[in-house]
């Protein structure tokens, strides 16, 4: 992460590629139809990546277990989000729960 050059390269790839996707659909519109199955699969891929990111950042630190405090905080947040609590409440609950468990 200390390597700014690599960081900027990654950011440029993500920016240019995303703009390309935004443009591609409009340009292709006249010529093709996107099969609904492919659309669903893209959506599933995005959700799978993000859920895996939640699991990895909640449970692990480096190559090992992060301890119980953090996943407990995330679990409380998940429960609140499931009950449709406001976003601010969800995020603060995660931080407060984790901090309180660490105090104990």
């Amino acid at each position: 992460m200390k390597d700014n050059g690599l960081l900027i390269t990654g950011m440029v790839i993500l920016s240019v590629g995303t703009y390309g996707f935004r443009l591609a659909g409009q340009l292709l519109r006249a010529r093709m139809r996107f099969p609904p199955r492919a659309v669903r699969l893209l959506e599933t891929a995005a959700v799978v990546l993000l859920t895996a990111l939640v699991a990895v950042t909640a449970f692990t630190q480096g190559h090992g277990f992060a301890g119980y405090a953090r996943p407990a905080g995330v679990a409380v947040a998940g429960l609140l989000a499931w009950r449709k609590a406001p976003f601010v409440v969800v995020v603060l609950a995660a931080a407060v729960t984790t901090a309180l468990i660490r105090l104990g």
Partner: protein, 213 residues
Amino acid sequence: MAKDITLVCLAVGLVAVSYGAIAVVSGFPLWLPMVQSVLVLAGSSELLFTGLVAAGGNPVAVACAGLLVNARHVPYGLALQPGVTGSGWRRLLGTHVMNDESVIFALSADTVGATTAYWACGLGVLIAWPGGAAIGALLGSVVHDTNAFGLDAMFPAVILALVLPKLRDRGTLRAALAGAAIALAAVPFVPAGAPVLLALVAVVMAAKEQEAR
């Protein structure tokens, strides 16, 4: 409509504040969330990028995973009515402000209102996302220890809150849980950043299942 768009932009701004703060607290320079939020302007992929790079992933590999998350913009462009994104030089900006929110508003509006709704929401997000990220980054620069105040739990909580509505679909939920299990099992053995990418194996499984149905 105007009220709904304002509320959505405020919500986007709140997510952006947490994103900016978390990025800086995890050790990124102040400019990264600020510049990235303007240039990419796609929240989930930026969260994925900062989360995985902070965990030690290679930025180029992680950017490719971010692109996979953003590939949904191709069907968005196909779904929009012609002309909604503007013409001539305006289309350069109209293309950039294509996001989950602006597309949903454009598609739910009537034919006449679609362009107005798309631009109002798109421009609103263009202000709210980078603006929130900048505020968050400045707030985050005051904090130096990720584990202080349980801030490390905020990042997974933010993404979980964003992704949860999509998990109400059974098939998606199954694929997501399988992916998470694969990623967790891989953590001790593969380089940082790679476990989340391995979760994509679950998408291949989901595709096969869809085919069988």
